[in-house]
């Protein structure tokens, strides 16, 4: 047994962070690619948590094979909106749909479902270098095409601390949707769904401005292994990756 449980530690870090005023928190995520086992627990937990429809997966996992038999390598790497501090999606979306995206002081790039139209989505998607970050809710349900639509996908989600029930013609249907670091959970003292569920214990979350937090210490102690995707594009993402093989890790989603 290496250590205490990281979820317990991060849960404690979170309670501490919540004692600070909201604008003094600095949420960030870290993903240790060495530990990701490519299980897609995060993908599905997020769908379940946020009642996501077909076509929207805030969190995905890259599974890429390299090499030649028997010297094969497999990259397993999660990806979601990077909540960039210099997010290109924000000006791009707001240019076509004012007020659709907002960079919050705590680091999260938040979506205003009433304003983030299809045009906003298309502009954001074109501006974002990460792919697999912004999605569009086209109103479908998973249980369409079966004997009946089921309650687990007509129940409300609680994103941004409000109740959202997907109905034709009403937000979040026909809106841009993306990862928001589960702020509705976080502000209630609960870690994001992907962090909690992560089977490989690869996903970390916390207040980067708290030097006592696990995430701050993890990044500090592993400086030589930390990288961010598309660092050179200047987006200043808030998702950090830990890896022994940065070249391989830079492989992108197709």
């Amino acid at each position: 047994m290496e250590a205490e449980n990281a979820l317990v530690r991060m849960h404690q870090d979170l309670q501490r962070a919540l004692k600070k005023p909201a604008e003094r928190r600095s949420w960030a995520m870290a993903i240790d690619v060495r530990k990701c086992i490519g299980c897609y627990g995060c993908t599905v937990a997020c769908i379940a948590e946020n009642v996501l429809p077909p076509g929207v997966m805030y969190r995905t996992v890259l599974d890429i094979e390299l090499g030649k038999y028997p010297n094969v390598v497999r990259i397993l790497k999660p990806m979601n909106c990077q909540q960039c501090d210099n997010a290109p999606c924000v000006p791009a979306a707001n240019a076509v749909a004012p007020g659709s995206l907002e960079k919050r002081p705590d680091g999260v790039v938040a979506v205003n479902y009433e304003r983030a139209t299809k045009e906003a989505f298309e502009a954001a998607r074109a501006a974002c270098p990460y792919k697999r970050a912004v999605y569009f809710d086209d109103g479908r349900f998973y249980t369409d095409g079966t004997p009946a639509r089921q309650a687990y996908e007509t129940r409300p989600s609680f994103e941004y601390g409000q109740e959202w029930t997907r109905t034709a013609g009403k937000p979040p249907v026909n809106s841009l949707r993306k990862c928001h670091f589960c702020v509705h959970r976080v502000e209630n003292g609960e870690l994001p769904a992907c962090v909690t569920t992560c089977v490989g214990e690869a996903t970390y979350f916390g207040d980067l401005s708290d030097p006592e937090s696990l995430i701050a210490q993890l990044l500090k102690q592993n400086r030589d292994k930390v990288m961010r995707v598309y660092e050179s594009k200047g987006t200043q993402p808030r998702v950090y990756y830990l890896t022994d093989t940065p070249v391989l890790c830079k492989s992108q989603h197709p």
Partner: protein, 1054 residues
């Protein structure tokens, strides 16, 4: 209700039938969701994390049985997460003493299937009313019928389908007198004990005379050891855990008096269990007995080096959630590295120090090669292996010992029984013998006073008796080939063999070999397992931290001191079931009156049980006898078994099996052939005691309990309202039949068994009591009691009645039951799994490196004795002949694999999982593709020598071609192709069915590509049918495994 012709995407067509969840009252009531509501003001608190909206239970999306935290929204299971009290989901788990009021916002981990379980529970194709077939078997035409009517028909029989008389259970329940049954059972044992055929014959005649008035109760009076007609009721199950297993056995065996209650073990890891059982046999009162049906796994949280063989804990095994943390932490901290022996480059292999793409089926060759090298280079733990008995082990602070140095007699050139000290005149007592510095020494294996050690490599003659030590026999087996020859068989370079063996012997006790289906599901599975576990014995790592551990559970059936309800004493009407089982398990062919010649008509399995692939085919052959009724619970042998298609013909024929009753949550690939399907509760609506797995070192008992209201109809049995479920089915039949052990006084005087709660709550109390006096859990305090009641406020009285519960367990246990259920079971704290350098819950006794019991068995198909030591056996059919399909142009070896997003038969309706992986593929190496002229994305059909058409013949006019999509990868051994299990369905909501005259369309997302769907391929029907048995897959006749990985196939472009 209105019919809508809205476009497909937004169609909300209201069904007339209420048989399915999709058309049931549940759905209709949910139409009231506040769909007009949006963007309310910010919530003060997130509803889903309020403690009173949280309940703990156990997942069943696979068999890992991880803990669950269920978050409820107005009675709906809205979100599933891991249970922080459970060591599956949080390591270390939070202290069991923590109040549930304090952990509402802390959850453990959970895999994608676990998260998607909501879609299993709320599957629109779930059945909620009893169905009776309206057409022929398998036609998929059904009518809903009242529960009471179905029970009446099943019990009384009659011309139920217009096809002739169907026997009811009252007919099959021929022998009802427990006293008579016990007498007959004893007399049958006496027949079996007779040594010569003449003596047996005479005993049979004597039996017939003695029981002349009761011969009509027997299946065949000339063969009384077939047992009573009661045995013609067969109860088979797929995924069954504790609680329900006792209920099924109570019903079938104890009360109805049939020996035929059988599980599915051999389709999972059969030979892994039964080889381990053989290694765990103990010597008591002159015979080998007490072998446990279990196995060992590596203590991955502490190991420094693991070799995973045919095991992928990041994708399947038992399971990713509980095993991955120990592995990923070890990788990152540098504590651990592991090797993966697997023809496929699994996700586990992707993080391995070494990937060994072995030729599937040759696993024992690699193990024996490693054993050879380890012995030659003296890298085994001599101290451990020299210990002959308990006292010697204790002196070395070893929890286990082996028979490595025990002397084995060589008779007719083969190792046979252990030498007994009596034979050398050393003593009159029953003792074994070792040689120590040339002198024979008698000893008792369990002697705690006199430590006896022996020479390790003995090959000599003593007083004219040829003997070898157990380790010498193993050495000779391993040295029967050179390293180069072993290497050529398994296609692992000698350099790699040596590197594996060197690394394995460089970490003291903190190294382990961890094996699973890739080792056991071959025709030589039993000996593959034995060879690999022998490697663990060479380093003596059993019961050591970082070595091999076994599962440890809190008992729920009440046999321990201090437990309030001893189920062994709670069936006053218990009878004695006797006779040969339909799968001929646990008995030697030669003992029975059916013994004629070799090969037997079908295999006999003295070392195994739960032989899934034998149940229906044996019924089809009427060997050892025909059956009258088959009950199937939560299982799909047609889909799950290799060559499962062979079961279809038999199931479809009412002459072969006159009555088939299924308990299922849907109409699946096997239950579609039933006469009656009784809807069951999903795992979120019911009880079970889920047990544990070997790699979990803590003592645990996860408890599955109702967390949402039942979605099935309510019925009345014994005057009590209860949900339609397996329990209602069994209690309903018991009521109608008047079966003892059920109803008023069912548990004993004044103790009724009229409601399922009376069964399960007693078991919870037993778990609360623990192992012995003083081991009880604390009482729940008032705050916890209030939480307990409040969090169940949405549950109807049919499944939750605190007064009834309190009355069942009694005042003394009530608050302890609350305490346990508030946590989803009972879990020792993390540190209680260890004891210094050891694992706390030890196996703690003799482990057989040489198996005398096995060596005295005869293979019922060849007449040859079994080897009692690890050997390499090439691929063979059930009568021991080689299978040479590869010489007939079947140039690819077919295996299967597990993707973490699918479980065998029951996740196809989980659309969130399908979003990640909508279809499986036929995974192939580019070299093979090039040779065959195939490219990525090509559609191909898989055919084999036993299925040249490449189809599933459903015996109802439909054939499902086994067509899938080629996916090229460098991550598979050339010559091998694989597909992921769980896809390519043709039932389970995949195709249309008719209920009450209304057609319900199937969903193409579930449907096999070969049927025009998009869900890929299920190619088990291409797996080799045994050429001798003709209606069964290839089998491991020693350990019983159903063979998945030894078929040669062709792929044909379509």
């Amino acid at each position: 209700m209105t019919e809508s012709t809205a476009p497909r995407l937004t169609r909300r067509r209201f069904l007339k039938t209420t048989a399915l969840l999709g058309g049931s009252a549940f759905f209709l009531s949910r139409l009231g969701w506040p769909s007009e509501l949006f963007a309310r003001t910010r919530l003060a608190e997130y509803e889903l994390t309020k403690p009173e909206n949280i309940l703990y239970t156990v997942c069943q999306q696979c068999n890992t049985q991880c803990g669950l935290k269920v978050k409820l929204y107005d009675g709906l299971a809205a979100k599933l997460e891991g249970n922080p009290y459970s060591p599956w989901n949080l390591q270390p788990n939070i202290s069991y003493r923590t109040s549930p009021l304090d952990v509402a916002t802390l959850s453990g981990t959970l895999c994608p299937k676990g998260q998607a379980g909501i879609q299993t529970v709320y599957d629109p194709y779930r059945i909620v009313k009893v169905l009776k077939r309206a057409g022929k078997r398998g036609e998929n035409k059904w009518v809903t019928i009242p529960f009471d009517q179905a029970i009446d028909e099943i019990v009384n029989g009659g011309d139920l389908f217009g096809e002739g008389h169907v026997p009811g259970l009252k007919e099959i329940w021929a022998l009802r007198d427990p006293k008579l049954a016990k007498e007959m059972a004893d007399d049958v044992k006496a027949i079996w004990a007779k040594k010569t055929p003449e003596e047996k014959k005479a005993a049979v005649e004597a039996f017939k005379t003695k029981y002349a008035e009761h011969l009509d109760k027997l299946i065949d009076p000339d063969h009384p050891d077939l047992g009573p007609k009661n045995n013609q009721l067969v109860f088979m199950w797929g995924r069954l855990k504790g609680g329900r297993s006792e209920l099924i056995k109570r019903f079938t065996v104890e009360s109805f008096g049939s020996v035929n209650a059988h599980g599915h073990t051999t389709v999972c890891q059969g030979s892994l269990y039964f080889a381990s059982k053989a290694m765990s046999e103990q010597y008591q009162k002159g015979s080998w007995t007490g072998g446990k049906k279990f196995y060992w796994q590596a203590d991955q949280n502490n190991s420094e080096f693991i070799i995973f063989v045919g095991a992928s804990p990041f994708e399947g095994n038992y399971g990713p959630t509980n095993r991955a943390p120990g592995l990923t932490r070890g990788l990152v901290s540098g504590r651990l590295k592991f090797a993966v022996v697997d023809p496929r480059f699994s996700k586990t292999a992707s993080k391995a120090w070494k990937w060994v793409p072995i030729k599937p089926g040759t696993e024992a060759a690699l193990a024996l090669a490693m054993i050879r090298w380890i012995i030659e280079n003296k890298r085994y733990n001599a101290k451990y292996l020299s210990n002959a008995n308990k006292a010697a082990a204790i002196a070395d602070k070893e929890p286990t010992w082996t028979n490595a140095c025990w002397l084995v007699k060589i008779v007719d050139g083969r190792p046979e029984k252990f030498l007994r000290a009596k034979e050398l005149g050393l003593t009159d007592e029953d003792r074994f013998v070792v040689l120590k510095d040339g002198k024979p020494i008698a000893f008792d294996p369990y002697d705690t006073a006199n430590a006896v050690e022996g020479d390790l490599f003995v090959d000599t003659t003593i007083q004219g008796v040829r003997v070898k030590s157990g380790l010498q026999i193993l050495r000779e087996s391993a040295s029967s080939k050179t390293l180069e020859e072993w290497s050529a068989i398994c296609d692992v370079p000698v350099r790699d063999i040596i590197e594996l063996a060197r690394e394995f012997t460089s970490h003291g006790k903190k190294a382990a070999v961890d094996i699973h289906r890739g080792v056991s599901q071959h025709t030589n599975g039993f000996y593959n397992v034995f060879a690999w576990f022998a490697l663990n014995l060479l380093i003596g790592n059993y019961d050591w931290k970082g070595g091999m551990s076994q599962a440890s559970t809190f008992d729920h059936t009440g046999g321990k001191e201090g437990q309030p309800f001893n189920f062994a004493k709670l069936n006053p009407g218990k009878t004695t079931a006797f006779g040969i089982s339909i799968i001929r398990h646990g008995i030697k062919y030669e003992q029975t009156t059916l013994f004629e010649k070799y090969p037997a008509k079908r295999p006999w399995y003295p070392l195994s049980s739960d032989i899934y692939q034998e149940i229906i085919p044996s019924a089809g052959d009427g060997y050892p006898y025909p059956i009258k009724a088959l009950f199937l619970y939560m299982g799909s042998p047609v889909y799950a078994l290799p060559a499962g298609h062979t079961n279809i013909e038999i199931l479809a024929d009412p002459k072969k099996i006159p009555l088939i009753v299924a308990s299922d949550i849907t109409i699946g690939e096997t239950s579609m052939y039933a006469d009656y399907i009784f809807p069951d509760l999903s795992y979120l609506e019911r009880w079970e005691f889920a047990g544990s797995h070997p790699s979990i070192t803590q003592k645990v008992q996860p408890i599955r309990q109702p967390v949402i209201a039942p979605l099935t109809e309510t019925v009345k049995v014994f005057g009590q309202e209860m949900a339609l479920s397996l329990e209602a089915l069994l209690l309903g039949i018991a009521e109608k039949l008047g079966l003892p052990g059920f109803g008023q006084g069912g548990f004993g005087e004044g103790q009724d068994f009229t409601h399922p709660d009376q069964f399960y709550l007693r078991m919870v109390a037993n778990v609360a009591a623990g192992e012995r006096a003083g081991n009880e859990v604390p009482d729940a305090d008032d705050a916890e009691l209030e939480l307990f009641l409040r969090s169940r406020r949405h549950l109807p009285k049919t499944v939750f009645d605190p007064e009834r519960w309190r009355q069942i367990v009694g005042e003394k246990w009530w608050r302890k039951v609350v305490y346990v259920l508030n946590r989803g079971g009972r879990f020792d704290n993390w540190e209680q799994g260890y004891d210094g350098d050891y694992i706390k819950n030890k196996f703690g006794t003799l482990i057989n490196l040489y198996q005398e019991k096995t060596a005295l068995m005869i293979n019922s198909m060849t007449g040859k004795p079994l080897a009692g030591y690890p050997i390499y056996l090439p691929l063979a059919d059930s009568v021991g002949r080689p299978i040479e399909d590869d010489k007939q142009g079947f140039d690819l070896q077919l295996i299967t694999h597990r993707e973490i997003v699918a479980t065998k038969s029951r996740t196809i309706g989980n659309y969130w999982l399908l979003a990640v992986m909508p279809e499986n593929a036929i995974v192939m190496h580019p070299r093979d593709a090039e040779r065959l002229g195939l490219s990525e994305g090509d559609r191909v059909k898989i055919i084999s020598a036993s299925n040249p058409e490449g189809v599933w013949d459903l015996a109802n006019g439909t054939k499902v071609p086994m067509i899938g999509t080629v996916h090229l990868t460098e991550g598979i051994r050339p010559g091998v192709i694989s597909f992921a299990l769980g896809y390519g369905h043709w039932a389970y909501g995949a195709t249309d069915l008719v209920i009450d005259g209304e057609t319900i369309k199937g969903d193409e997302r579930r449907r096999a590509t070969g049927l025009g769907g998009v869900a890929g391929i299920h190619a088990n029907a291409a797996m080799r049918v045994d050429p001798y048995l003709k209606n069964t897959c290839l089998v491991d006749v020693y350990g019983g495994s159903a063979v998945f990985y030894d078929t040669r196939v062709k792929v044909v472009k379509v």
